[in-house]
Amino acid sequence: MKTVLTSVLSRLRALFHRHRLEREMLEEMRLHLEALRDDFISDGMTPEEARCAALKRFGGLAQLEERCRDEHGFAWVGQTWKDLRFTLRSLRQAKLYALAVVLSLVFGAGVAAVAATFTLWAFATKRPWGAERLFLVGSSQSKTPGQWVRWGVDFAELQARHTAIADFVAAGEFLAKVEVERGPPFARITQLTPGCFEFFGITPRLGRGLRAADYLPGAKPVVVIGYVPWLRIFNGDEQALGRTLRIDGQDCRLVGVLDSGSPFPSVMTGHFYVPYVGQPDPGKPFEQRMIIAARLHPGVTPLQANARLALAPPVGLGDDARPFFAAHPPVLVPIDRVLNHDVNNAILVGGVLLYLIACLNVVNLGLVRLLARWREFAIRLSLGGSRRQVMRLLLLEHGILASVAVALLLLFFRHGANLVFAAITGDPNLRNAFFLEPFHLCCIFGGTALAILTAIVVSALRLRRVHLGAALKEGDSSGGESRRMKRRRNALMIAQATLAVVLMTATGLMALSLARIMHADFGFDSSQRLKVWLAFPRGHPSDAADRRPYFEKLWAQLASRPEIAGHSIGQDAMLPGSHRNTTPVIAPDGSVIMVAGCSADANLGDNLGLRLHSGRWLSNLPGTKETVLTENLAARLFPASDPLGREVHSGAHGETALTVVGVVQDVRDTLREPTGFRLFLPLWMDPSRIETMILRLAGPMRPKFDYEIFEAIRGFDPEVIPAFVSPIQELLQPAISRELYVLRALCGFAGIGYVLALVALFATTAYTVESRMHEYGIRLALGSTPRALRLHVLGQGMACALYGLGLGTVLAGGLTWLMRELLFQTSGFEPVVSLVIAVLLAAATLLASLRAALRAGRANPAALLKAE
């Protein structure tokens, strides 16, 4: 062992002194030869005879020098340098091959590796420790976004009565004015109950989270800021801690900055995080919405916890609210549901598929290249070269290509990744949010290295079986390729086509799903409608008062604009709201149905384009207790009779009687929730809840008109918060942000996979045709036609594509199963998508095979046979 170590160290030192050692070696041998020669001269030989005798006695000088260099251990340096130069020359002559491999590695292996690492990284780091014991407290078992909205009274109840089964934390949310130099005038403020940071194991990037001392009476207000707001407001300044932010008129000291991504579950994520110090009022249970999380104590199962939680509603509730809470007992929902695993899974699988396509591409191209150089390698081996030397050439070639690919990838991620990342997520604020962590770098290097190693191993295995005689045989055009080898190459090609089809199918289904979402019937006309939703901060004069005069004055400011054809005001219920069944209605059979009550003025029906099935819209005359029902509610309350003129009794005891004057088509509030029961009430019955103005436009909205309205409202009342001033159609965007994110990523993956498969098909077909030119010459000589040859080549390409299409369509079912939560009214098999993919694949095959087919058709039998 010691000898081996000494030897290795000595050879390493020799590497750095090789020129000196070389000189000394030559000098030593020269001196020895001189001494031998002198000896022979002294024995009586002539100088010439003595010289020859000395050389003979000494041995072959050139071979001895080589052996000495080998012993010094640096012969390989010179040899490697020569090989490197040869490889570079060889790659210069095969530029297309080099480009294809580099691009495969960059766009396939590199991008796919990063996509996979982001999702794996997000899964590994954003999933809290012990997440299997974490739950959200929801209201139903259905898979809809609103199921985990609870209320402040729920949290108080859970804290008081159920601490034996779990620990609870909660987050409330409100919109508040934020006075900062750079940044929006208002923001989403998340109020956290004590212990939230510890509960989710969140350590801020800078500073600290909220502590127990922050919740004490008289404590100075503090705030923790999210990552993107920190970038936007403070430009990512790490000295921002300690600065003051004015939130809702209160100075708050910045004590922490969160990390990128969403450290909290998405339903609890906001721009700023402050302590929750309020006390819920059982008399007004729906004032404070909360998201409640629970961690079960060891030994408590979800089943046991659910059974304990399904108890009586919170104490102190009013008559109106009690039926709601009785109908919606707390239920535990696994927190994984909000960790976007479906999005991450889709991106991860898409990335892995693209990576596999890239690896197959590199392997396929490597094999084609090896077969094209088969004769060259055979000649080298026959001239005394070893397989190790040939392998070294292959290693060098692949190593150079991998190095170029990694260098390009690093350049891309240094300068271009931010833009791509912002484009995929659709959030331009994330342009500066992309930081390459060491883990990502490892995955880039590792992914590229693995792809290259696979290609090297496959080539090396093939090289082991080279038969010199067959390879050197004149006229052997097979390039050493056996039938089994051809089948394997075809199998690689089919595998690539299959994976590309899977990716393209997933992308097509996602695109179809999104198209269906965008054209979903919401039960009203969303075009040319601008929605203004105002949030009144605490202490605002209109916070809890009759807001009709306020909105009338606002309308007076806006009425002169010719773009606006009509307006309505009412309670928010039209996107992006969610269906809150907080109004009890007594059904004819005496049961209580929870419905969404929505106060509206006399124009809302027309301005919103609600489709009236029967009767009329609300007149809104003071004192008239009338209502308009949605179809589903009318059918539920009056299944066998005409509801018009009938009475509906709302309230816990049915104390309010409303006369049905109209029935409208069911109205959808969100994309995925089923349409709920809704009744429209006259505005005068609850004027303190008015918060929405719908502006019906005379024509398509001109650019930046919504911004003008926004500024007009801010000019009218700087204290109010214009939470939404957007065309209703644009309000769909946040609801489909996850789907858009997945679609953009899959489009990128599918596009790259498509191009890679095309490149592989091109290279494979070109090589196959080239190696069979003699055969084509013979066929032509025996009576075949150029057209038949061209069709034969195209047919072979199409066969690969057909196999790929068939297998890919079957396998795509697996990927779409993973994406099932993201798809909307779309199954795993859609004929339109399959047809489009078949056409695209046929086009790619035609494009890739055309050149080779034309080449085959132009075979000259006389020239080919003469060359034979």
């Binding site: 000898t3 000494t6 030897s7 000595s10 050879r11 020799a14 000394e24 070696m25 000098e27 030593e28 041998m29 001196l31 020895h32 001189e34 001494a35 031998l36 006695r57 000494f58 041995g59 072959g60 000088l61 001895l64 052996r67 000495c68 080998d70 012993e71 010094h72 251990g73």
Partner: protein, 109 residues
């Protein structure tokens, strides 16, 4: 009598044995080998150098430039402690081999 080729693997041992007598240059080692073997062993003199460089890397010998008895520049090789141990080990193995061969030859006759 015709010269005999060196048995494979014995050159190192012979060189170490020669150097056990004191530092010597390559030409001197070749001369000494010839002398001690009474011209029986046929050695390509140049083939010692790869062996000596190998042994130098293994730490069995060290080398230093000096001036020979003929006032010529020469590289002198010297045995190290490790080299002495190696020589002892190889000598022991060689003696065992000789005994074994002798026993076989004696038993066969």
């Amino acid at each position: 009598m015709p010269k005999l080729d060196l048995l494979q693997g014995t050159l190192d041992m012979l060189v170490l044995q020669v150097l056990s007598g004191g530092p010597m240059h390559g030409w001197g080692i070749a001369q000494r080998l010839q002398l001690l073997s009474k011209n029986t062993l046929q050695v390509e003199e140049g083939s010692m150098y790869p062996a000596m460089y190998r042994m130098e890397h293994k730490g069995w010998i060290t080398a230093e430039w000096g001036v020979s008895e003929n006032n010529r520049k020469a590289k002198f090789y010297q045995l190290t402690a490790e080299g002495r141990k190696q020589l002892t080990a190889e000598t022991k193995d060689w003696n065992r081999l000789c005994l074994a061969i002798r026993d076989v030859m004696a038993g066969a006759s």
